[in-house]
C-alpha cells in the first residue's frame, strides 16, 4: 500500500471512529432529565 493511501485511510478512519465514539459515550453518560422525559424505559412502573 502506498504511503499517501495509507495516511488517507488511517487518518479518515481513526478520526471518524474517534468522533463517533466521543459523541456516543457523551450521549450515554449525559445526565438523566427529570420525568416526564422522552423515554419510557426509565419510567416508574405501576404495581
Amino acid at each position: 500500500m502506498n504511503t499517501s493511501a495509507l495516511i488517507f485511510m488511517i487518518l479518515a478512519q481513526v478520526t471518524i471512529t474517534a468522533i463517533m465514539l466521543y459523541f456516543l459515550i457523551r450521549a450515554m453518560r449525559a445526565k438523566k432529565r427529570p420525568e416526564p422525559d422522552s423515554y419510557t424505559d426509565n419510567d416508574e412502573q405501576d404495581w
Partner: protein, 612 residues
C-alpha cells in the same frame, strides 16, 4: 383527539433507530463505488467538507423541525411545516415527507427482499459450484419472473410480499416495541457481520484461496488520492449527493423520529451521535468490504468495469461467486453475513420510511396502529409491484430517480429555506440548542442561514442542467449539451434513443453494436448484442411472436431494425411509472387536504363546546 401515544423506550434506542434509518444499502454498495469514480482517497476531502456544511446542518434542522412539530401533536412534515411557515401552502410542500417515504419504500423493499432471498440461498448453498457467469445468470433469472431459482414460481414476488409482511408486522408493534427493537438487534449484528467480512477481505493473500491480489491492493486502489479530482465540480457534486442520500435527508423520516422527543430533551447530541455512527459504518466498514474482496479475486481492471454498472451489480452478481472461493462452510457464513448485513441495513431504513405514514394516519384520522401499518403495507405493495413486474424495463430506476433523488433534493432545499428564512434563524437556533447536551458551535448559525441553503440550491440547479459527460468547464451559454441523467434530460427522455414511441411494429438498435448471437429459450427468442470493443453487452428478450431481423455477426448502426412484431417500448413503462408517482403525489396532497379540513372542523367544534 389523536390515537398516537407512541414514545421511544430509551436514548440508545432512539440513536440506533436514527442511525439505522441512515445506514442503508448505499453505505456498502454506493459509497465505495462513488469513491473509486471520484478521486479515490481524495474523495474523502469533499465528502467530509459536505458532511460538515450540508449533512450536519440538515441533521440539526430536521431534528429541530421534528421536535417542534411533536410539541403540537404533529409527527409528520405537512402540518409541522404549515405551523412553522405560518401559511397553509407549506403543508403541501410537507406532502413530500409523506409521498417520498411510500414511493421510496416501494422499490427499496423490493431490493431488501433480494437480500432476504440471497441470505437464504447462501445458507442453502445455492451458489455452490457455480461459475462467475452462472452466479450472474442466477441474479438475472431471479429477476425474470418467468424463470425460478428455487423451484418456487414467482420467487421474486413471494420474497417481496414476505418482506412487506415483515415490515408491516414490525411497524404494527409500535415505535419502541417494533422499530426500536429491530434497530437494537439489527445495528449491532450489522456491525459484527461487516467487521467479520472486512477482516476476511483485508487478510486475503495473493495465491491463497484463488485470490490474485492481497486485500491491501483493493484498499490501496480505493484510498490512493488523485488530487487533481478536487478541482472537478463533478466530484464535489458527487460528494454532496452521497452525503445527502447516506443520511436519509429530505425524506421526512428524521423529522418523524425526532417528533417523539420532548421539548426539554436533547436533540443536538443525539443528531451528532446518529450522524457520525452512519459515517463510521460508511467510511470505516463500507469501504473495507466489497472493494478489497472483489479486487482480491477479479483484479483492478475488472472491478473498474463492474463498478461502472453500479454497486448493486457488484453485490448480487459477483460477491456470491467470490465467497465460494473460501470453501463451502465459510462461503455460507460469508454469504449470510454479507446479505444479512444488507438486509438489516435495508429493513432499519424501510421501517423508518413506514413510521411517518403510521404517525400521519394515527394523528389525523385516529387510526389504530395496526390498521395504519396495514395501509402502509398495502400502499407500498400496490406501488411496488410495477417495480417487480417491470424491473427489466427500468421502472425501479425511474422510481429511484424521481422519488429517491429529485424529490429529496427539492424537499430539503425548500425546508431549509423555510427554516432559516421563513421561520427565522433566531427562533430556529433556539429550537436546535434548547436542551442540548453539547455546545453547538455558533458558526453553525451562519452556516444554516447562508451556506447550506446555497449548497442545496447549487446541488438542485447542478442536477437540473448537468452537462453531458460532466464537462462543466467546456459549456457555454450558446452550447450546453445536457447529460442524460440531468433533470431536464430525464424529462425529455434524452436517454431513450430511436425507440421513442410507446408502441411500435419495429424495434431499432439503440447504438452501434455487433450481434453476438440469436437464440431461443422455451420458444422465446433472445438477441445478444455487444459494443464494438466487446466490453459491454445487452440481451434483448423478445415477446412470443416477435421476429428477429438480424443474425450473428451483423454490424448494426443505431436505428437499424433489430426485430419486428408487437412491441411495447421501454418509454411506455417509464411514462407509466412517472404517471403512477405523479398520481400518488396528488393523492397524498388530497389526503393532507382532507386532514386539514378535518382539523378545522374539530377546532370549530372545540370552540363551540368551550363557549357554550
Amino acid at each position: 383527539m389523536s390515537t398516537n401515544k407512541e414514545a421511544w423506550g430509551s436514548r440508545i434506542g432512539l440513536i440506533l433507530a436514527m442511525s439505522g434509518n441512515a445506514v442503508g444499502l448505499g453505505n456498502f454498495l454506493r459509497f465505495p463505488v462513488q469513491a473509486i469514480q471520484n478521486g479515490g482517497g481524495a474523495f474523502i476531502i469533499p465528502y467530509l467538507v459536505c458532511f460538515l456544511l450540508l449533512g450536519i446542518p440538515l441533521l440539526f434542522v430536521e431534528w429541530a423541525i421534528g421536535r417542534y412539530g411533536g410539541r403540537y401533536g404533529h409527527h409528520t412534515t405537512p402540518f409541522t411545516m404549515e405551523r412553522m411557515g405560518q401559511s397553509s401552502l407549506w403543508k403541501y410542500i410537507g406532502v413530500f415527507g409523506i409521498f417520498s417515504n411510500i414511493a421510496i419504500a416501494a422499490y427499496y423493499c423490493y431490493i431488501e427482499s433480494w437480500t432476504l432471498s440471497y441470505t437464504m440461498h447462501s445458507a442453502m448453498g445455492s451458489f455452490r459450484g457455480l461459475s462467475q457467469h452462472e452466479v450472474a445468470g442466477f441474479f438475472s433469472n431471479y429477476l425474470d419472473l418467468s424463470t425460478t431459482t428455487t423451484g418456487l414460481p414467482y420467487e421474486a414476488i413471494i420474497f417481496f410480499l414476505l418482506c412487506m409482511a415483515l415490515n408491516t408486522w414490525v411497524l404494527s408493534r409500535g415505535l419502541s416495541g417494533g422499530v426500536e427493537k429491530m434497530a437494537k438487534i439489527g445495528m449491532p449484528l450489522l456491525v459484527f457481520f461487516a467487521i467479520f467480512l472486512a477482516i476476511k477481505g483485508i487478510t486475503l493473500r495473493a495465491g491463497h484461496e484463488n485470490a490474485v491480489n492481497s486485500g491491501w491492493v483493493g484498499l490501496n486502489f480505493l484510498w490512493t488520492p488523485h488530487y487533481d479530482s478536487l478541482l472537478n465540480p463533478k466530484v464535489w457534486l458527487a460528494a454532496a449527493g452521497q452525503i445527502f442520500f447516506t443520511l436519509s435527508l429530505g425524506q421526512g423520516s428524521v423529522q418523524c423520529f425526532a417528533s417523539y422527543v420532548k421539548k426539554k430533551d436533547d436533540i443536538a447530541l443525539n443528531a451528532m451521535s446518529a450522524g457520525w455512527m452512519n459515517e463510521f459504518v460508511e467510511v470505516v466498514l463500507g469501504a473495507s468490504v466489497i472493494i478489497p474482496i472483489s479486487i482480491g479475486y477479479l483484479g483492478i481492471d475488472r472491478v473498474i468495469e463492474l463498478t461502472g454498472l453500479g454497486g448493486l451489480g457488484l453485490g448480487f452478481r459477483t460477491m456470491p461467486f467470490l465467497f465460494q472461493q473460501w470453501g463451502p462452510a465459510l462461503a455460507a457464513m460469508a454469504g449470510i453475513a454479507f446479505f444479512g448485513l444488507l438486509f438489516f441495513a435495508g429493513i432499519t431504513s424501510s421501517l423508518a420510511m413506514g413510521t411517518p405514514i403510521l404517525s400521519f394516519m394515527m394523528d389525523e384520522f385516529n387510526w389504530s396502529r395496526k390498521n395504519a401499518a396495514l395501509i402502509f403495507g398495502g400502499a407500498v405493495t400496490f406501488l411496488g409491484l410495477p417495480t417487480v413486474f417491470f424491473f427489466q424495463q427500468g421502472v425501479l430506476d425511474e422510481y429511484d430517480y424521481w422519488a429517491g433523488t429529485v424529490s429529496l433534493v427539492v424537499f430539503a432545499m425548500l425546508e431549509m429555506i423555510m427554516f432559516s428564512w421563513v421561520f427565522g434563524i433566531k427562533k430556529g437556533w433556539r429550537e436546535i440548542t434548547t436542551g442540548a447536551d453539547i455546545r453547538v458551535p455558533a458558526i453553525y448559525k451562519f452556516i444554516i442561514k447562508w451556506i447550506t441553503p446555497f449548497i442545496l440550491i447549487i446541488v438542485f440547479f447542478g442536477s437540473l442542467i448537468r452537462p453531458a459527460a460532466d464537462e462543466w468547464t467546456k459549456v457555454s451559454l450558446t452550447s450546453w449539451p445536457l447529460h442524460k441523467e440531468s433533470i431536464i434530460g430525464q424529462l425529455t427522455h434524452k436517454d431513450i434513443g430511436p425507440n421513442s414511441s410507446w408502441f411500435a411494429r419495429e424495434f431499432y438498435a439503440e447504438s452501434v453494436c455487433i450481434v453476438d448471437s440469436v437464440y431461443m429459450v422455451n420458444e422465446k427468442p433472445f438477441i445478444l448484442v455487444e459494443s464494438p470493443d466487446h466490453k459491454t453487452s445487452v440481451t434483448y428478450g423478445l415477446r412470443k411472436g416477435n421476429v428477429p431481423m438480424v443474425k450473428a455477426g451483423d454490424h448494426l448502426q443505431a436505428g437499424d431494425i433489430l426485430y419486428t412484431g408487437r412491441i411495447f417500448n421501454r418509454v411506455f413503462y417509464l411514462d407509466l411509472a412517472r404517471a403512477l408517482l405523479l398520481s400518488f403525489f396528488a393523492f397524498s396532497a388530497f389526503i393532507v387536504f382532507k386532514a386539514s379540513r378535518r382539523r378545522k372542523k374539530h377546532a370549530r367544534h372545540h370552540v363551540k363546546i368551550t363557549t357554550s
